[in-house]
Symmetry: C2
Subunit: 333 residues, 2 copies
């Protein structure tokens, strides 16, 4: 287990990272593809870029389908550019209009940034990430961060476990709700709201938006159980509830300001949990990769194949199997 990738990968990575950091967007795109595929180039590149990252504000934006996430992301890009900030978006949403989905209006709006080097939009498949979706998006965010983007928005659809984990690993997590979504999504709301730093009722021009916001504010009264705040620590903060109309841009500058406030407050309180959670997710993913790599070593593949077959046929339980494989790895170290 060396301290770096192969020399060739490291060389290729150095060229790519230097170009990406210097502002070459095609190099950046290639780097993100490497990150998504977890190639050796990605490893070498992330090792180079990681010390340069840590400056961007990583914002997770999540919510149920139909809450208008992509339109809000488009509006946030506009507001951030207005404020002179460089924005990158990682959209982890198979149906995201931003990444080739349905809403033509959003796509047209996105194309207006085609020549703006300070806007970078990247879609990410939500399936098939060996080390987990959270670690892939976190690594992608680190690359964008090191490449000089001030604001990195991670858009996820927010109905599955992985998406919530992605959102929860951001510095600031925004949970969207549409007005009057009925009883059926209350449970989803409850699950998502746990990770919310800011709650946004989008589609503010629809009837019921203000009532939904009022209901959410009532739901979000901090409880003792939620905070369990020991003495000396700040008591749990109730997430702010905002109302936006992403299609017209109404409320979006206020959302941008609220994001900044949350970040400032979190830093003052030295809220390191999201950063540690991101770090741990990445470390775990690499450790899992290392184990998987070891299982593919010629000396171990036959053992691994036999053990997997034994578990598949219920001749061996998964615990005994895992212990057998870990022992085989230790023996062959």
């Amino acid at each position: 287990m060396g301290e770096s990738g192969t020399p060739r990968a490291a060389d290729g990575a150095t060229t790519l990272t230097q170009s990406a950091v210097a502002g070459d967007r095609r190099a950046l795109a290639r780097l993100l593809t490497a990150v998504e595929n977890r190639t050796s180039i990605a490893e070498a590149a992330l090792r180079e870029l990681y010390p340069k990252a840590g400056r961007a504000h990583i914002v997770g934006i999540t919510g149920p389908p139909g809450s208008g996430k992509s339109t809000l992301v488009a509006a946030l890009i506009a507001a951030a550019r207005e404020a002179g900030r460089a924005v990158a978006v990682v959209a982890v949403d198979p149906s995201s209009p931003i990444t080739g989905g349905a809403l033509l209006g959003d796509r047209v709006r996105m194309q207006s940034y085609a020549d703006d080097r300070d806007v970078f939009i990247r879609s990410m498949a939500s399936r098939g990430h060996a080390g987990g979706l959270a670690s892939t998006t976190t690594a992608a965010a680190a690359v964008l961060d090191a490449s000089g983007f001030d604001l990195v928005l991670i858009e996820t659809v927010g109905t599955g476990q992985s998406e919530v984990e992605v959102a929860a690993a951001a510095d600031t997590t925004v949970v969207l709700e549409a007005p009057e979504m009925g009883d059926e999504v209350q449970a989803i709301k409850a699950g998502l709201l746990e990770v919310a730093d800011l709650v946004v009722v989008n589609k503010g021009d629809k009837p019921g938006a203000l009532r939904t916001a009022a209901q959410l504010r009532a739901m979000l009264v901090p409880t003792v159980a939620r905070g369990d705040a020991p003495e000396g620590r700040p008591s749990p903060k109730r997430p702010e509830v905002l109302v936006t109309t992403a299609t017209s841009g109404e409320g979006v500058p206020e959302l941008l300001a609220a994001l900044d406030r949350h970040r400032t407050a979190a830093r003052a309180g030295e809220a390191t949990e999201p950063r540690r959670a991101r770090a741990l997710a990445q470390i775990r993913a690499v450790m899992a990769d290392r184990l998987a790599d070891r299982l593919r070593e010629p000396a171990l593949t036959s053992v691994a194949d036999a053990v997997i077959d034994d578990v598949a046929e219920h001749r061996l339980d998964p615990y005994a199997a895992a212990d057998r494989l870990l022992q085989a790895m230790a023996d062959r170290r």
Copy 2:
């Protein structure tokens, strides 16, 4: 790394597993709670039960919100009971009507099985599974399998990565679609359809159901790329497309028959991939648990904490961190 849990956990587990296998549903419920929380009792119990599992037909049922999954599951339970089979359901869906969601009709229908020992319904939180949702549901399915259920239905909402993985690990995966869902979900469909063994257009009484089924059949023409079938192996099979109306039960016996056909065909073709995938998911989860356990050993926690902090503060990259921790583990073995 012992070959079993603590003696006390093993004793408690033996009592629980014996009771569960003997038909004690409260013991079964407690066992599943242990599995969900990955306790030492769960480990001891799974080690005991695992050799008894492998007989049930594990069926994943997934699809977008609103496609009527829970109503179809309820209808499948009725049809399976009609055929004299014992059915268990693991519902991984925060908004599942079956597990306390919104649709009163389904809940009432479920309550009619309150005294039927051959129907067992269990909800599973979709978040916070240390070893991954796929491994938890797979372990739960193995417990239900060993407890004598013929059919184990795993219902997932099917919009996130984890849910798709859960579905893909079943012997047979059913993907639901509602008629005429519009352009917006085509991308989700495409992602889900990849894992489908059977596609069901539910709400067959709505206009457009037959047209949707026809469109799906056209989309599902097997391509060379999909199968890459080498000589001697069966060419890729196009998933059957069925139409059901779960509320009235129409088409449900036909679905049950199609499930049986798929299982028989899969067994004849010795399709071991889902079984191997399930086995690997479980082994990996245990290996990840073992690593996490080791990081909590007193000798390693301080190293781990320091390394996580270093990555969180971008003083160390995740690859170097993972290697450092793995090395520390090997040194302290």
